[in-house]
Amino acid sequence: MRYNKIILLLCIFFTGRLFAQEPAADTTDLMAQLENEASDKDATNYTSATFKTTRLVNGHTVENAAKGVLDVKISHRFGTVNKGAYELFGLDNATMRMGLDYGVSKRMMVGFGRSTFQKTYDAFVKYKLLRQSSGKRKMPVTVSYVGTIALMGMRWADTSRKNYFSSRLSYTHQLIIGSKLSEGISLQLMPTFIHRNLATLADEPNDLYAVGAGGRFKLTKRLSFNAEYYYQIPGYKVEGTTNPLSLGFDIETGGHVFQLHFTNSTGMTERNFISGTTGKWEKGDVLFGFNISRVFTIGKNR
């Protein structure tokens, strides 16, 4: 293969010299020559658009908001569909999160939000450690770190005891390892560590571990099917909780991405949906929900 290329190059070189004044064989020769001279073998191509937006359903993807871009996210989760027609299949109830994400640099993004679920405030920082690329520098995966801090804002149920502010806090550390396998398929793994300063019961662990897996499958250029699942490691999970499974669609129109999905979790911050989901798919504890993302370019995009 390599020799073929060298021979071809030599041929082009010599024919070019020998027959410089003769009619050239074919225009494809010039194009072939261009291709051989191409410098992009020395260039690195970074993979873009592994996912349509920075969230898969509830959790993060490897994507960041571009530098100088503000991403306004409004997310809703309705009630469970098994409530029936009386509650209009859950639409009578809604939990929502309002959030702002901002791309600080090519690799870093920060954001904060407020959910009505347990009046939770959350803030996160996300940093791209590795970027999937081909060409000169080959890297099969993109790896991002996400660190989230969440503050439970509800009034304490038991005011007779001493309640500390720190008890409201929980922390999540995630590594997101994602890869765009083809134009249509992107997959990611999300090992996750959650620390709650306050466990509800004395024998519950403060440190929780889970591994997430998810992916997107492009159906058309502007429509994709997404799936997201977190497996909580037995012994490091809260008893009575279930593993969150979410299935949905991303619909992209210009600067908006609409995400419509079904999920068994009501919470929208990591601590709440990874370690605090109670709904069971098999019992119909499934909620309809949507995220709307709208991006605004604030800083210079270059």
Partner: protein
């Protein structure tokens, strides 16, 4: 000393011979390509400095190409992503190219400005169209510079505009090309 002189003479002769043989293939040293989409609601501009090309003056044949993902500019980062992902599909069709032959017979060794027509296959988004494009060539000793402006219909290259962005994306894209070519 004598030997040294002989080698020098030989080398000198060699260079004279090489220089005497007319080199007619010009290569792009500096090439840029810019496009703009002027729609009622939005003006989008982008350009690339990675235009590569060869022109063989003796056969009048040429080949030019540009890497689609090398275009920079746009109004937002997302627009660039959509350009590559949804419209140009630059993963599947990484290059836009134009190859063919100049119609007019011109002696480029005579300095001057020549208006010529370049006829060939214009390929964007994997779809080729036969085009005749007017080009202004300025010939100088050892170099030529090329300038051209033309339009590209998205429909010609199987690029569809979704209804929601009809007001934001022109169906006809203006393209400007500038390149400096020199013999190698």
């Amino acid at each position: 000393m004598n030997k040294c002189f002989r080698i020098l003479t030989f080398a000198g002769c060699f260079f004279v011979l090489v220089a005497a043989a007319p080199v007619t293939v010009y290569k792009v040293n500096k090439g840029s390509i810019a496009f703009n989409s002027d729609a009622p609601m939005e003006l989008i501009k982008a350009s690339s400095n990675e235009l590569a090309g060869l022109f063989d003056a003796s056969t009048k044949k040429f080949a030019f190409r540009v890497k689609v993902s090398s275009f920079e500019g746009f109004n937002t980062a997302l627009q660039k992503e959509h350009f590559n992902e949804n419209y140009m599909e630059s993963n599947s069709f990484p290059y836009a190219s134009f190859e063919g032959k100049v119609i007019e017979d011109i002696d480029y060794s005579k300095p001057g400005v020549y208006n010529v027509r370049a006829k060939g296959n214009f390929t964007v988004h994997g779809v080729s169209q036969e085009r005749i494009i007017k080009v202004e060539i300025t010939a100088k000793p050892q170099t030529v510079s090329v300038r051209s402006s033309f339009t590209v219909l998205l429909a010609d290259h199987n690029i569809t505009i979704p209804k929601v962005v009809h007001e934001k994306l022109a169906s006809e894209i203006k393209v400007d090309i500038k390149a400096e070519l020199a013999t190698q």
